[in-house]
């Protein structure tokens, strides 16, 4: 009788197969089971879309539709310099959203009510939606003038180089990236940022070389870095040394916030 005795070779083949299935399975499971870690700002973008903000304030709040009755001729966008003549602070943004205008302006009796008035959304969104929406607005506008010097300059450099195009407004998190480990372009905050960037040195590597050396040297990580559709560019030729420092300062300030 011939007994089938597993050969040494078969054992190794089976083991290898098993490991392969495990790894691939884990990767798939990761993609399907673990949702991308949403930042409040990204959730806020969905709130804005749901409420219809972009209908008047333009795509991503970048500039609005015509308002023939308004002095400026259009509904204002949410870009940084614009907000500085509409709202003093975050509280006033909440008042704009909830009541259609901040109390300060209502009390002063605006000389020029716009033709297309800002609606009052009180009662149409819950507290979490409101704080997410404000987080998104703050990301688009870049804040209220209390940004420290180096961070502000870093933000200006990020805007100039187009970082926010992929990483979302103020680095709040980007769109899908097929073939990447998480399936989307990472935010500059939250848990996944910590996985990708351990310290300032690694952040500099990401900016200058398009990847962190630690991950590049790891075959599994490298598999995803090389396989992802959108590749992080290496910005070394386009940045001066002090500019890298300002970018790092900006991202550190964002995270501290």
């Amino acid at each position: 009788m011939n007994r089938v005795i597993p050969s040494r070779r078969a054992f190794w083949v089976l083991t290898a197969l098993f490991i392969l299935v495990c790894v691939t399975g884990a990767a798939w499971a990761n993609r399907f089971l673990r949702q991308p870690a949403l930042t409040p700002a990204i959730r806020g973008e969905a709130v804005a879309r749901k409420l219809g903000c972009f209908a008047c304030h333009g795509a991503e709040g970048q500039g609005g539709i015509a308002d023939p009755g308004a002095r400026g001729g259009k509904v204002p966008g949410w870009g940084g310099p614009t907000v500085s003549s509409y709202a003093k602070n975050e509280q006033e943004i909440r008042e704009w959203i909830l009541d259609g205008a901040p109390r300060r302006l209502k009390e002063a009796g605006a000389a020029h009510p716009p033709f297309i008035p800002m609606p009052a959304y009180r009662g149409r969104l819950d507290d979490r939606e409101l704080s997410d929406l404000v987080a998104y607005f703050t990301a688009v506008s870049g804040g209220f003038g209390d940004v420290p010097e180096a961070a502000y300059e870093g933000r200006a450099i990020a805007a100039r180089l187009g970082c926010f195009g992929c990483h979302g407004p103020s680095g709040a998190g980007g769109g899908p990236n097929p073939g990447s480990f998480k399936g989307h372009i990472p935010a500059w905050d939250g848990e996944e940022f910590l996985e990708l960037v351990r310290d300032d040195a690694e952040l500099r590597e990401w900016i200058l070389d398009g990847h962190a050396k630690r991950l590049w040297d790891n075959p599994a990580a490298r598999h995803f870095l090389e396989g992802q559709v959108v590749q992080m560019p290496a910005y070394r030729p386009h940045l001066k040394e002090d500019e890298v420092g300002k970018l790092v300062a900006y991202i550190r300030w964002l995270r501290k916030k």
Binding site: R71, S84, R104, L105, Y152, A156
Partner: protein, 605 residues
């Protein structure tokens, strides 16, 4: 029932306590003290002579009075009260009246010298500064510093015949002997206005090169040559080195009035010692000597007019600029000699032909010094009152005007900020925030409570800025000087705003526009700044930072030209020409009326 009453009592008590508290803790901002009420310094700013040349009338700018001196007896024989902040005066032709310009009172006050009191007040424009009586005595010419005009006034009736637009901050006026031209020095424009009083028009703006904060002006009897004292401000180069006058040099310009555009500038500096802040300027009756007071170095220069005109005649057009930069010309060509003024802060002067003496008003010494007009030797010092110790504030004011705290005495704080710590209207490329990004000199009146300091916010606060200012002037911050300067700049003295005298309705409407355009978001009352940096797209690639410190709007009516690089020459143009993206307030689409109202509101701040 009982509980209800108790609750009522409790409520009343709480309300009363709140009322008391709101009484005790006033929310009104505490205005800085400014110049303290006592002791009262006289601060003579100008001196002029009686018709016989034996009496002198001294204009005491901070005691609001005119002192009368007997020149031969070397003493004060009387003092006449006048309106607020008198700065200049002129005697009528027959010698009966003294016309005193009172900048803060906003009028020209007429003293009847026989009666020894003010008999009439003539309204001119805003902040009347220089006052000149026409050769025929029938008219008064008044330079209105804030209105940027010269008023031609009938002296007998006090009626304004015309108001002629000139450059910014006109200071002093000279009339040619034939009465066909008026020469006006402009404190904040780099040219001398030449006016035709008959047509009421400015016929020429004589370019004076790098001249800045020009002051007194004189003209020869034949109407050929005009002389004007002033600083030369090298704002065209980064402010890196003060040697050889490369930040400021000091002197006077000579203009041939028969040749349009002609101008030669001669410096009164020496190679190793600047002649900071020329102020008073006058010609002797024989036109042999020109006297220039150097207010920052406490000296008087006596210029040999013949030598000076010889040099001017030799100067070809291509030599004008090198000569303007030649800090050795005084010694090389022996055109002038410098003498101690006999007091601190020499400003206006008068020449008594009767006694052959030059009288110098010394602002900080509260005295008039008497110099031998030929030799420059000090003959006497006439105190205008009993000696008074300088307060810390006064010491600060002196230091602010004193070139002795600057390396080689090239300049003073006032060379860029005027004697009142405001502006010179120029863009300076200070190296503290990189090179290649000149920015307009800021008024220092708001530094004490609107940190950070400077347009780029490069200095954390006023204290740090004063220390840096002392280092900039070439020395380590001296602790005693620092305290005095902090006291002085920490309690700025503000002129009463002339725009508050009229147009209350327009200002009220303008405030509505101010709020609805969102101006108050970054410029909230009472400081009219949110103390933050903002990026409204005004920066250029050469700017060190993208954002600028939000300036206070207090006294914005006198801090022009406006915006960080002075690009807006009028308040209105800030909105009409320099806000293309509608980011500096949403001012797009404002009607002409709304713009006027907005400007009216701003001027009243």
């Amino acid at each position: 029932m009982m509980r209800k009453r108790m609750a009522g009592i409790l409520l009343a008590a709480v309300l009363a306590a709140n009322l008391l508290r709101s009484d005790a803790v006033s929310t009104a901002p505490v205005a800085p003290a400014g110049r303290s009420a006592a002791p009262v310094y006289r601060s003579p700013n100008h001196v002029c002579l009686s018709a016989d040349g034996l009496k002198a009338y001294v204009v005491n700018s901070t005691s609001n009075s005119v002192s009368i001196l007997d020149i031969r007896d070397r003493k004060v024989v009387g003092e006449i009260p006048v309106g607020e902040r008198p700065v200049h005066a002129a005697v009528s032709r027959e010698g009966r009246f003294l016309y005193v310009s009172c900048t803060w009172a906003g009028d020209v006050e007429v003293i009847d010298l026989a009666e020894g009191r003010v008999v009439r007040k003539i309204l001119a424009g805003d902040e009347p500064y220089g006052v000149t009586v026409s050769r025929d005595g029938r008219r008064l010419f008044v330079a209105n510093a804030v209105s940027d005009t010269v008023s031609v006034i009938e002296s007998e009736s006090g009626k304004t015949l015309s108001e002629i637009p000139v450059g910014h901050f006109p200071r002093d006026i000279a009339e040619t002997a034939d009465g066909s031209r008026l020469l006006v020095s402009n404190g904040l424009s780099r040219g001398m206005s030449v006016l035709d009083p008959a047509t009421g028009k400015e016929v020429e703006r004589r370019d004076l090169g790098r001249a800045s904060i020009t002051r007194q002006v004189a003209v020869t009897r034949d109407g050929h040559w005009a002389f004007v004292a002033g600083i030369l401000s090298h704002d065209e180069t980064p402010s890196l080195q003060m040697e050889r006058g490369w930040i400021h040099s000091n002197g006077f310009s000579v203009a041939d009035l028969t040749r349009p555009g002609h101008r030669v500038t001669l410096l009164l500096d020496r190679l190793l010692s600047g002649a900071a802040n020329p102020w008073g300027l006058l010609l002797s009756a024989d036109e042999k000597h020109l006297y220039v007071s150097l207010s920052g170095v406490h000296e008087v220069a006596i210029v040999d007019v013949a030598e000076c005109l010889k040099l001017v005649a030799e100067t070809t057009p291509d030599q004008v600029k090198p000569l303007e930069q030649d800090v050795e010309v005084l010694e090389k060509r022996n055109i002038a000699k410098r003498f101690d003024a006999g007091g601190l802060g020499p400003r206006g002067m008068a020449l008594s032909e009767a006694t052959g003496e030059l009288l110098v008003a010394n602002y900080f010494s509260d005295s008039v010094s008497v110099l031998d007009a030929a030799t420059g030797a000090l003959r006497a010092t006439i105190p205008l009152g009993p000696p008074q110790e300088m307060s810390l504030w006064r010491k600060g004011e002196l230091l602010f005007n004193d070139a002795r705290i600057t390396y080689q005495t090239w300049f003073t704080c006032t060379s860029c900020h005027q004697e009142d710590a405001s502006v010179d209207g120029l863009n300076w490329d200070l190296p503290n925030d990189g090179i290649g990004n000149p920015k307009s000199a800021k008024s220092l009146h708001d530094a004490y409570d609107t940190a950070p300091a400077m347009w780029s916010g490069i200095r954390a606060n006023m204290d740090a800025a004063i220390a840096a200012g002392q280092r900039f002037q070439g020395f380590l911050p001296d602790p005693a000087n620092h305290r005095a300067l902090v006291e002085y700049l920490g309690n700025p003295e503000r002129a009463p705003n002339p725009f508050l005298r009229r147009g209350a309705e327009a200002r009220q409407r303008g405030e509505q526009v101010f709020v609805s355009a969102g101006c108050d978001v970054c410029h909230p009352a009472p400081k009219y700044t949110d103390l933050k940096l903002h990026d409204l797209g005004f920066g250029t690639p050469d700017d060190y930072r993208s954002r600028f410190d939000t300036p206070s709007l207090r006294e914005v009516y006198r801090s022009g030209p406006w915006l960080h690089d002075g690009r807006a020459l009028t308040l209105r143009s800030i909105f009409s020409d320099h806000n293309p993206q509608d980011l500096h307030g949403h001012t797009k689409g404002l009607t002409e009326q709304e713009l006027d109202d907005l400007v009216a509101f701003l001027r009243g701040l």
